[in-house]
């Protein structure tokens, strides 16, 4: 178990926090069916360690129904970004917790169905009133049952009822935007019921998570904060020697490195499998290693126990250059900012170099024991997203295609020649339950080709899509090397009968430099003309990161007037011939 500070330390530290110190801010509300004192303090302290100011509201003890049902409650006036509703099995099951067999099996099932309906009604009310994301816990499974060992021979048993509750809760919530289940059941599996639940704590103060485990629960909530603020890491950069395999290939040779089914070589196989799974869900992998290229690449290409293949890495730097300059190159080639990287290297000197020169990069300390490597990455909590989109799962493949494009670009003499060969196709798509999470994700994560850098949660995007004064679309961008998925977004506010305003206009960094933006702008202009609009207005809001879009408006025939950029819709606008524009 990773070591945690005592709860009293968190409580004390939270009193000393100056919460408004950081530029990243979040407001979190806690509702619960039992005493959760200390949880908000622990979360605040943990957020401050990640340079996040966390402001919290904790509702009164077991007041969650009243808080949600009363649209004038303090919960709503606090206006949280994320609300955690923490429930427990004893409170939900009431008398049936102790006496589940005082009723028939069908009555138990009815009870579960009624409770689910109650909770879903509560969630719907919350969703109607609040803009906050809602995270609700499922229920833990107590090892206790009055039926003892006969529990598993009982039809729709007490334990079945709890499992059924969790299953139904998940199913009902699966398609409700902005509502998520926190797997409390899994939290108890991780730390053990006998550790987390303590009868004295419970009987003394209705404390159902013992005091020393509250900071651990706070840890599990951090991923929601990271995801909400769009701080999810995009790429893990790994070293090779003593990181992906044991030993030093340059000294120990191809046959001498430790990588195979026997210990200690199996620790590296385990770690590689963990990395591979992360890459399959959209986290990019890259290599930054000081080695002879031929020695190291031979292991990657030919070693029978290598789990990760050359094609799993979006960028490979194996050379004798300084690792910081390699990191800059990786960042440039993948078009990802330094703050989106995790650097994983067994050598403390290299780690220090990166920490010193590139403090934005997350550089965890590594234990000497490679069997603990996966845990180090897991404990970072930095790869979480509220939802995995299809773009996430295909990201590695998309970057590989990008590599081929770059090669092709290098072989073309000029950029327009290159673009012609790409066979670029931009399809403008409408908002729906599939595209809304991705549109929100793009507004949260896109920094470079982003005109206004306005961040929108799913609920806001949903509202835009229902508002007839807003034009909101996304763009799916394909070329001959593959499908980049939904990688462009625009939101246009129809201000009045003659003017429209570009509220948001962005392209993912993956598809920059191919003039897909012209197809998107062409579509907007076409729609505006159809509606007899005279002027398309825009604002460029500069940030430290959006330099790539600063000339977009002037290059697209917009002119400056009274603080706005204006496109006069009398003027014709054409898209380059090599672009194909499709509309859904």
């Amino acid at each position: 178990m990773d070591n945690e500070e005592s709860l009293s330390k968190y409580i004390l530290d939270s009193e000393k926090l100056e919460i408004s110190n950081f530029s990243k801010k979040i407001k979190i509300a806690f509702l619960s069916s039992f005493t959760i004192n200390g949880l908000s303090e622990s979360l605040k302290v943990k957020c401050s360690k990640k340079q996040i100011s966390c402001n919290t509201y904790v509702s009164g003890y077991n007041q969650y129904n009243q808080e949600i049902l009363d649209n004038k409650s303090k919960l709503y006036s606090f206006s949280p970004d994320i609300t955690f509703l923490i429930l427990d099995t004893r409170s939900i099951f009431g008398n049936l917790f102790h006496f589940p067999y005082s009723v028939t099996d069908s009555e138990r099932e009815n009870f579960v169905n009624e409770k689910i309906t109650e909770i879903i009604n509560l969630i719907n009310t919350f969703n109607d009133i609040s803009k906050s994301k809602l995270v609700i816990t499922n229920l833990s499974l107590p090892h206790y049952s009055p039926h003892g060992i006969a529990e598993t021979k009982t039809n729709y048993s007490f334990h079945d009822a709890i499992i059924d509750f969790n299953k139904k809760l998940k199913e009902k919530i699966l398609n409700i935007n902005s509502v998520y289940v926190f797997d409390f059941f899994k939290f108890i599996i991780k730390y053990g019921e006998n550790n987390v639940f303590n009868f004295q704590n419970y009987l003394f103060g209705d404390i159902k998570i013992s005091l020393d485990y509250i900071p651990y629960l706070a840890n599990e909530l951090i991923p929601y904060v990271i995801s909400f603020l769009g701080l999810t890491k995009k790429c893990i950069v790994v070293d090779l020697d003593n990181t992906l395999w044991g030993g030093i290939v340059g000294e120990d040779g191809f046959n001498g490195i430790r990588l195979g089914p026997q210990p200690p070589g199996n620790a590296f196989i385990e770690f590689q499998k963990y990395l591979k799974a992360l890459s399959q869900r959209g986290i990019l992998l890259a290599i930054n290693s000081k080695n002879n290229f031929d020695d190291a690449i031979q292991v990657i290409r030919e070693h029978p126990s290598m789990i990760l293949k050359e094609s799993d890495f979006s960028c490979i730097k194996i050379n004798w250059n300084n690792k910081a300059s390699n990191m800059s190159e990786i960042s440039d080639e993948l078009n990802i900012g330094l703050e989106s990287f995790v650097f994983f290297d067994d050598d403390p000197v290299n780690r220090e170099l990166i920490k010193e020169n590139m403090p934005e990069i997350t550089t965890p300390d590594l234990p000497h024991d490679p069997s603990l490597y996966s845990e180090v990455i897991q404990s970072l909590h930095d790869f979480s997203t509220f939802q995995i989109t299809s773009e996430d799962t295909q990201r590695g493949q998309m970057y590989l295609e990008e590599k081929q494009r770059s090669k092709s670009q290098n072989s073309s003499h000029d950029i327009s020649e290159f673009l012609k060969t790409l066979e670029l196709e931009v399809e403008i798509k409408k908002t729906n339950s599939f595209t809304i999470p991705r549109i929100s994700q793009l507004t949260l994560k896109t920094n470079q080709f982003n005109l206004t850098t306005k961040r929108y949660q799913e609920k806001q995007i949903q509202k835009f899509s229902e508002n007839k004064n807003i034009l909101i679309n996304c763009a799916q961008i394909k070329d001959k090397f593959g499908d980049n998925g939904i990688t462009g977004v625009f939101i246009v506010e129809k201000i009045n009968s003659v003017e429209w305003l570009l509220d948001t206009f962005l392209l993912s960094c993956r598809v920059m430099g191919r003039e897909a933006e012209k197809a998107m702008l062409y579509y907007i202009i076409k729609q505006a003309k159809k509606n007899n609009i005279k002027k398309l207005k825009a604002k460029f809001i500069p940030t430290p990161k959006n330099k790539p879009i600063e000339d977009f408006l002037s290059n697209s025939q917009f002119y400056e007037e009274n603080g706005f950029w204006i496109y006069d819709l009398e003027k014709p606008f054409n898209i380059p011939e090599f672009l194909t524009l499709k509309e859904e």
């Binding site: 709860l7 009293s8 200390g38 003394f204 103060g205 005091l211």
Partner: protein
Amino acid sequence: MSEKLFKIISKVMNVDFNDLNDESNPSTIPNWTSFNGYVLLYELETNFNVKFSIDEAMDVKNIADIKRHLKNHGVILND
């Protein structure tokens, strides 16, 4: 050992060490809420390697009571 006890109380209750005495109680220490009282007992259990019963926990009204229960558990406090 009394010093150790007072240091823990001072830390948990966020109160100056010198302001504490055997008679200190929830009405003289603003941070001594029922929850913090429980956090305190928890810290004492961890630091002195003892386990209070629910009767003992309920019986604590001031620091003297804590000392009495610690002594009953064999903790030597040099007053």
